[in-house]
């Protein structure tokens, strides 16, 4: 079970089998500094991306695999599916 990141965070409700390596990476982390509004930090439905001081933190364990991040930031975000058997399992 994931830890809640903020009050009311729905992520702890989900069954997520977290792999030990990340399936999300950046082509060039420094480029995020120049990104104006950092849409990944608000477009991601499960708040995987977090701006911390001067770097982008990627909480890949929170990913629910919609793939939206790489669509809005194909320049810098490399997103793949987690390995088989890992990631989110919905029950509803």
């Amino acid at each position: 079970m994931l830890e809640a990141k903020f009050p009311g965070d729905p992520l702890p409700l989900l069954e997520i089998n977290v792999d030990n390596t990340s399936h999300i990476s950046l082509r060039e982390p420094k480029n995020c500094l120049l990104c104006a509004n950092k849409p990944c930090t608000y477009i991601c439905p499960s708040q995987v991306f977090e701006w911390e001081e001067d770097a982008l933190k990627i909480n890949y364990s929170r990913c629910v695999e919609c793939g939206a991040c790489q669509q809005i930031c194909p320049e810098n975000i490399i997103w793949e599916y987690p390995r088989a058997g890992y990631g989110v399992t919905y029950h509803y």
Partner: protein, 435 residues
């Protein structure tokens, strides 16, 4: 090494239907699912349609895991504290042959893959096809020979049916994606499943027994972006969904999670879900690229079905996915009989798709994508003006009817410049769709 007549990548509605059809016709087929069970990563807008599904699985309602047959449909033009509502209810839809059912994908998809398995398909769980195995060509790579799983395992087949869903990784690797769809060719939705006792659901939606309802919402739920919200009844849960065009959410600074949170606070939504307990949160995208971004549907030894083939028309998708899976499978059955799996033979699949009733709609809707980008204020305008007009119309005051009519006209006139209203109306009549 295993060799199959066909490998189907993805055990969603399209893939499982393809595998089922192939197995029924006596072909050997492997059905691959990257999750722990089919449906465990799938999300949709709530309902499957009785007639198209029965075409593949006659009288499926006797055995499939269904939630409720839908008898009431409403569309709400939601504004900050009001709503213009239209709808239709028919108790006929509660009886055979039914019209549509709410289902939970984790159960329905699992059941459908189970039907394919019963017919003889070999279902591989936790099997993620990350790449193809290509035949060696003289100078370039040859045609597809099979797939490589992410654990290194290789599966070989005469044909690979790509049913990978909204993200076209394999479709691109097969060289079937001439135009990579941009962000505006996707919508992003988030959803909450809220648990509530059956009696309370029935009371709040005015239903009896297992009857179901679905409410679509436009306007308020997506703030300033083009999109939709939906609220529908399962047996003992309610699903609430909201989302819109990905590029608009991004450029307008809208967080889908925050939109959902905001929608739950709307007084008309709040009173329906009051006291319900959150049991799951989900997110998914819909490929809205349509005819403009249609991938090539076939190649040597390979076919594309379902979301990966952009088989989406308005709110229809699951049924079109299943039909495309069926057509692909039928094409492969004939190809096996002929002993020819080349692109020339598999082109029959594209023919079947082009002849299908839904392709006419997909073609006709091709300019809608551009409409929603150029007229991104359409949902806001339509919803807010309808609510302002209705508010004036229903308010009882001291105006005579002539004055009242003048007031209504002035609401429209003062909304924006008349030329824009005319051009908006003309475009909306041709492109705007409520559902």
């Amino acid at each position: 090494m295993d060799t199959y007549d066909a490998i189907v990548v993805g055990a969603g509605p399209a893939g499982s239907t393809a595998a089922l059809t192939l197995a029924r016709n006596g072909l050997s087929v492997a059905l691959l699912e990257r999750g722990q069970f089919p449906g465990c990563k799938n999300v949709f807008g709530g309902t499957i349609y009785a007639q198209p599904v029965a075409e593949i699985l006659p009288a499926f309602w006797e055995t499939a895991p269904l939630e409720r047959p839908v008898v009431t449909e409403e569309l709400w033009f939601l504004h900050t504290d009001s709503a213009v509502r239209i709808g239709f209810g028919s108790l006929r839809f509660a009886r055979q042959p039914y019209n549509k059912f709410t289902v939970l994908r984790s159960q329905f998809d699992r059941w459908l893959a189970g039907e394919a398995s019963k017919a003889g398909a070999v279902v591989h769980l936790k099997a993620h096809a990350r790449d193809f195995v290509f035949d060696k060509g003289l100078f370039t790579r040859g045609p597809v020979q099979g797939v490589r799983l992410d654990n290194g395992e290789i599966l070989l087949s005469n044909v690979v049916i790509i049913a990978e869903g909204v993200l076209p990784f394999l479709t691109a690797k097969a060289g079937l994606l001439p135009k990579v769809p941009p962000a505006y060719a996707y919508t992003l939705y988030v959803k909450e499943v809220l648990s509530l006792p059956e009696e309370k659901i029935n009371d709040r939606f005015q239903l009896e027994n297992n009857e179901g309802a679905i409410i679509g919402m436009v306007g308020f739920p997506t703030s300033t972006a083009i999109g939709k919200a939906g609220l529908w009844t399962n047996k003992d849960t309610i699903s609430l969904i909201v989302g819109g065009y990905l590029n608009q959410l991004a450029s307008q600074g809208l967080s889908p999670y925050m939109l959902l949170k905001r929608l739950k606070e709307h007084p008309f939504v709040k009173r329906i879900i009051q006291g319900a307990e959150l049991v799951e949160y989900q997110a998914h995208m819909i490929p809205k690229g349509g005819y403009t971004f249609l991938p090539k549907l076939y190649g040597d030894n390979v076919l594309v079905v379902g979301d990966a083939a952009l088989m989406i028309s308005g709110r229809r998708g699951t049924d079109l996915a299943m039909l495309s899976g069926k057509y692909a499978a039928e094409t492969v059955v004939q190809a096996k009989a002929k002993g020819d799996f080349s692109a020339k033979m598999l082109a029959n699949y594209a023919l079947k798709i082009n002849e299908a009733f839904f392709m006419e709609d997909i073609k006709a809707r091709r300019s809608d994508l551009q409409y929603y980008q150029n007229w991104s204020d359409a949902d806001y305008l339509i919803s807010s003006i309808l609510n302002e007009l209705a508010n004036e119309f229903f308010t009882v005051d001291f105006l005579n009817e002539k004055e009242k009519r003048a007031r209504l006209v002035s609401i429209i006139r003062s909304k924006q410049f008349p030329l824009k209203t005319l051009s908006d109306l003309w475009a909306a009549l041709r492109h705007w769709e409520a559902l």
